[in-house]
Symmetry: C2
């Protein structure tokens, strides 16, 4: 047993969809969450800037003597993971490997769709991972840069014309290719899963990256699992009040405990 906490970070609120899944699967673990709300979003930024932000995020989490890091951010996982792993001495788990594995298991026709931020799609991270697991897969990608601002502004209702128009526009080319599995490659997207499912149809398997990363974490820590904890500390780099208000939507329940402020990039 290893009672050190697990560190989780995201550019903002999206990573809380992963925290929710970790709390269900590993209820005895202590969690330290960091949301970089002073610099959100990451998905429209360049590789160099994302690398710099990710290092600062992990350095902060490491100050809590954590036993592992979950990069609960599709963009950070896509752009930085292979290089970042070489720089740190603790396990770092992203969302790309677990979600890709789940997609390969789920697909029957070998046709897989991937949606994510501009940086995620540009990185081709999910494509590389899927092809290494199943070289015959046919992969179709779409960047959905407006999904994060829409989710952060609370436009999550499948009947909202603004959200649904964007869902149709972004997903039409992927749907036309007959995919039977779609990776929601950004931890914000499970919040609009109902709108995505409405457009794609109920036969399409939707892969939730936070859920898959939580499963992967459980496997990874194995016997080092903590059964005696269950606490969660939340840190953000900006606007603690706004965070508490919105966080419950992502977490699926209200935040227990205070949200603390941590300045980064100073």
């Amino acid at each position: 047993m290893d009672n050190r906490p697990i560190g989780v970070f995201d550019s903002g609120l999206g990573g809380l969809t992963a925290v929710a899944e970790i709390m269900k699967l590993l209820p005895g673990e202590d969690i330290v969450y960091f949301g970089d709300t002073a610099r959100v979003p990451y998905g429209t930024r360049s590789e160099n800037t994302i690398m710099r932000y990710v290092r600062e995020d992990i350095d902060f989490l490491k100050s809590f003597d954590i036993k592992a890091v979950i990069m609960a951010c599709g963009t950070a996982s896509s752009v930085s993971l292979p290089r970042i792993r070489k720089e740190y001495d603790i396990p770092i788990i992203g969302v790309v490997e677990p979600a890709s594995r789940a997609a390969v298991e789920a697909t029957k026709n070998g046709r897989i769709g991937i949606i994510g931020t501009s940086a995620t799609v540009r990185s081709r991270s999910y494509e590389r991972e899927i092809m290494s697991l199943c070289s015959g897969a046919k992969i179709f990608t779409a960047a959905c840069p407006l999904f994060v601002p829409l989710v952060e502004n609370g436009r999550c209702d499948p009947d909202d014309v603004v959200l649904y128009t964007m869902v149709e526009e972004y997903l039409a080319p992927i749907k036309a290719e007959g995919v039977d599995t779609l990776i929601m490659g950004c931890t914000h997207y499970p919040i609009i899963e109902r709108a995505i499912a409405k457009y794609m149809g109920e036969k399409t398997a939707l892969i939730n990256p936070g859920l898959e990363a939580a499963g992967y974490l459980k496997q990874s820590i194995g016997a080092a699992q903590n059964a005696s904890g269950g606490s969660c500390r939340f840190f953000v780099s900006d606007d603690r009040d706004g965070f508490s208000e919105n966080a419950s939507k992502f977490l699926g329940k209200s935040l227990c405990g205070e949200v603390e402020l941590k300045t980064v990039g100073k």
Copy 2:
């Protein structure tokens, strides 16, 4: 005559609508522009974070021995200007005073609408300025947090259902109050002026903050005007390629000269 350049900054691309107006009104001035694209948007962040970012932006511009700063950002002008002016020894011109003055001159019925980012509306900056000029004015405000991401994602067509639905939703309460003048209180908004005008009707005067700030600058520098320059250097904190692509839309013409990278917040 003072041949030192004028410094202009914004969180990202919006400030280029002000640069375009300065180039028209003061074609002999040299301009140094800084767009903080590694931390855009400012309008959803807290006051402390915005103050910190603004100081770093001005410190960078001051390294060019500038004679004045234009804060071509509704959020920065609203949140930081009175305090920031006390910290620096050169003139700092925001968009709130010039746009408020223009609105008071334009209105016939004394009913003025203001739209801006969440931080701008929360600051009540335009309201204070207008009331100091015309204490009988009736003011109606609306935060429009999705306008910046919509503009930055190129959704500027008045016939676009996504943009026009948001215009209707944000502006309906203001239109219902019978305003005859509307301040587009963010330098991104002139890019969607046609959609705003379509909804508000042609009788509503729309105030463009960048245009008004350029006029104010011309008055302010008076005899110190430069007639022999006309160059423009562009700096961004992230993704130079993306900037060049989008900048021409804001500037109304293609960028002449290279875009340079300047890292901030390190």
